[in-house]
């Protein structure tokens, strides 16, 4: 252990990395130099409080939604036996591949007055009152449906790691089944659940695509109103930096939840599951969630693709797929290696400055993508200017480097969590034991770290990969010439309201996102359902 205060080279590198991530954010903060009182006054007088209220409502609603769905499904899959469990346990992750804006559009289309559901109801049950498809509740439901997998995935891991032994002991000591769940299982799984919830909430805060389809005004609406409507990018940046306050609180809550818990693996995972009386009911519940969040929107997209006969798979379209995949892969590898480095230094050279740096480096997830992209663009452009003054004509803006940095800043939080967890699995005593037994440094890496960390690393890789492939605003603004992705094409078509034509790229994007989800889940399924279990 190092003493506090002394800063090593690796500590410095972590600070540097945090700085790199911070630069675009600092650029945003610089917007405060110029007061934009007129714009602020207007927003305060008219819409701001409603937007803040809406945002809080959305956060509470989405929290309730993802916890309800994520935790209950994770619990059922981890501890109960019911028909279809084996495939539902991985299928329930599929909604992760569904971009929120796509589900939002499908929902509005299906539920609106003119949509098929209300048309049907009016015909057959005319006594039912009409309802609005753009009610805030639908926004909550939509976001919960696409975001619950974060909670589900991490909670399931936690429940599965607990094993049944703990619960049985609780029962022996006199707890009822439900109190065993609330008093033992849930608190033990809390760090995982909190981490999943934090991701879901940050995504909610940053969302603009889905809420604008519902025309539900949130804090991001104020940001874009200032920028697009009032032509005031500075005020938009100021608002965006306030959004970060929310995030700091959310992250603080998550860390607090995690720091109290100690991970301990209970030897020999038992996958013995009890069969409840209403086993089919559980199946029905899980299937309904999967249906709403995935099967329904996918079939709607499929219907449009077939209806329009617009699936033109030409060289350009293949290029879109390839670029999307390539960006996802590159960004995921980059985030993974940087997150790995952060986690490593944090573990081996813990100091206050390092842990603060790590925290800062994971802030970007809650920033709306295009605001972050503008921050990156301005900072790169400034550097470009300095270099040009020095006689170095290097292009930085609109290069792959700028775009990848945007992804790193935005998705570091997604990658860092699983990587850090994976590293924690490798208890120092294991490493010491290996060294005592004469293993070389390389051998410890190969035979201890890699096998133990692999699942966590893979999780991080795939999560980031999916998120990058779905990412729209930063990709739009920072991509180099020729680097159009599926999300870019979706934007182009939807900007002029051609949602049905956007079905082809949207469906392709979902299918592409399925590949990592499949890899993620098949591996885990193999591991858990192997003969020993």
């Amino acid at each position: 252990m190092r003493t506090r205060g002394a800063l090593s080279a690796s500590g410095a590198s972590v600070l540097l990395l945090a700085l790199l991530v911070l630069v675009p954010i600092v650029v945003l903060l610089a917007a405060w130099q110029q007061e934009q009182w007129a714009t602020w006054q207007h927003l305060l007088d008219t819409v701001l409080w409603r937007l803040v209220g809406n945002t809080l409502f959305l956060m509470v609603g989405v929290s309730a939604g993802v916890l309800l769905l994520g935790v209950s499904l994770a619990w059922c899959v981890a501890t109960l036996e019911f028909p279809g469990r084996r495939w539902l346990q991985w299928a329930l992750l599929l909604p992760m591949a569904m971009p929120a804006y796509v589900l939002a559009f499908v929902m509005v289309d299906l539920l609106d007055y003119a949509g098929p559901i209300q048309t049907f109801l009016r015909q057959w049950l005319p006594m039912l009152p009409d309802f609005s498809a753009r009610h805030p509740l639908w926004v909550v439901i939509t976001l919960s449906l696409v975001l619950y997998p974060y909670v589900y995935m991490l909670a399931r891991l936690a429940f599965e790691a607990q094993g049944r032994a703990v619960l049985e002991q609780a029962r022996i000591l006199g707890d009822t089944a439900s109190s065993a769940f609330f008093r033992v299982a849930l608190p033990m799984a809390r760090p995982g659940i909190a981490a999943g919830l934090a991701l879901a909430l940050m995504e909610t805060l940053a969302d603009f695509g889905a809420v604008s389809i519902f025309n539900f005004d949130t804090f991001t609406t104020a940001i874009y109103k200032s920028w697009y409507g009032l032509f005031n990018l500075q005020a938009a940046a100021q608002l965006a930096s306030l959004l970060l306050l929310f995030v700091v609180v959310a992250l603080w809550l998550e860390r607090r939840g995690r720091s109290r818990a100690r991970y301990s693996e209970i030897g020999g995972r038992q996958t013995l599951r009890s069969r409840p009386r209403l086993a089919w009911g559980v199946t029905l519940f899980a299937f309904s969630v999967l249906f709403m969040a995935f099967l329904l929107p996918v079939s709607r997209l499929l219907y449009w693709v077939i209806d329009n006969g617009l699936m033109q798979v030409d060289a350009r379209f293949l290029n879109l797929i390839w670029r999307t995949f390539l960006l996802g892969t590159m960004a995921a590898l980059l985030v993974l290696s940087l997150a790995g480095w952060l986690a490593w230094v944090k573990r081996h050279q813990p100091s206050r400055s390092v842990s603060v740096a790590v925290r800062l480096a994971t802030l970007g997830y809650a920033l709306p993508g295009s605001v972050l992209a503008v921050g990156i663009m301005i900072s790169f452009s400034a550097v470009e200017g300095w270099l040009a003054d020095l006689g170095l004509g290097i292009v930085l803006v609109s290069t792959l480097a700028a775009l990848l940095l945007a992804y790193v800043v935005r998705f570091m939080a997604v990658g860092f969590g699983p990587v850090e967890n994976a590293l924690q699995q490798v208890r120092p005593s294991l490493v010491e034991a290996a060294r005592t037994l004469g293993a070389s440094s390389a051998e410890v890496g190969r035979r201890v770290y890699v096998p133990m960390m692999l699942p966590g690393l893979l999780t991080a890789l795939l999560l980031v990969g999916i998120d990058v492939m779905k990412e729209m605003p930063a990709t739009l603004l920072l991509r180099p010439f020729g680097w159009d992705t599926l999300a870019v094409r979706i934007y182009e078509l939807t900007a002029e309201g051609e949602w049905q034509r956007a079905a082809a790229p949207a469906l392709t994007l979902v299918l592409l996102g399925l590949i990592p989800v499949m890899v993620l889940t098949r591996r885990r399924a193999e591991r858990l359902d192997s003969p020993q279990g």
Binding site: G229, L333, L334, L338, S381, L404
Partner: protein, 337 residues
Amino acid sequence: MMRAIATVAAAAVMLTGLWACSEPAAEEELVVYTSRNDHLIKPVFDAYTEATGVKIRYITDNAAALTARLQAEGERSPADMLITVDAGNLWNAADKGLLQPLDSQVLAANVPAELTDPENRWFGLTVRARTLVYSPERVDPAALSSYEALADPEWKGRLCLRTSKKVYNQSLVATMIQRLGEEKTEEIVRGWVANLATDVFSNDTALMEAIVAGQCDVGIVNTYYFGRMKQDNPQLPLSLFWANQDSSGVHVNISGAGITRHAPRPEKARDLLEWMSQPEAQKLLADRNMEYPVNAAVEPAEEVASWGEFQSDDLNVSVAGALQVDAVKLMDRAGYR
């Protein structure tokens, strides 16, 4: 182990750096930033390349983002031209000093003055009309007259509108401010809000579907959305009404273009801009999206012509930009979301 991680991280960063080098545009190329969508603009660029041999590289994004990008890039910007929709966006780019004035006989002859920046920094390419749409089953067209009249109590619970966050509505309200003054306009917008049949929509197509389904009777839309729906289903019980024919005329907006302040190839950009105002390009630009050509010598597409002729508002479209901020604030005050 630590060294291994560091090496992997460093290698990843460096590989990225190598990948990231982008080659600059060649001399025989033009670089365009456009918020006009790929499937609408690509055929135009392809035709230009075929005619002249000049290749065009372009990036699509929304206007605000492209404007911010031009601003950040400053004099090092690779872009020669900005093509976008809505005069407000062009006005904003010009206002931020991102476009350069261009004195061109060709453009002056082909593009009407009211669709051109008074300082010649941007020029209209196509015209888009925003007018009333109604259900012929439930509305007698004789009862319709103007945008303003939709605030009358007779339309209570019968009006559908798109969100005020869409720039098309901001431009419409901006021109109303110019003609009627803030006070009167705010009264009208409040009247609209009071007459709404349901929450505002996030796109014009959904709005028209609501009229067809009977949720409301009348709305305000851009004509090409109407055209698109009619193309899919000619029997659709939905009709256009040309607004304000006895007064200011139909509100029109443009898609347009300007040469960027720091264009590396301004002469080439000028050639492209002039070419786009000529008949061949005008057909390509307008017809694919069922808009109107700016060049009066060019006929609109057959389908578009079938909607009839109309008197359009002759205010210079730059008003939409100059008063956009006022319009947004006014709509916020009036509770129009």
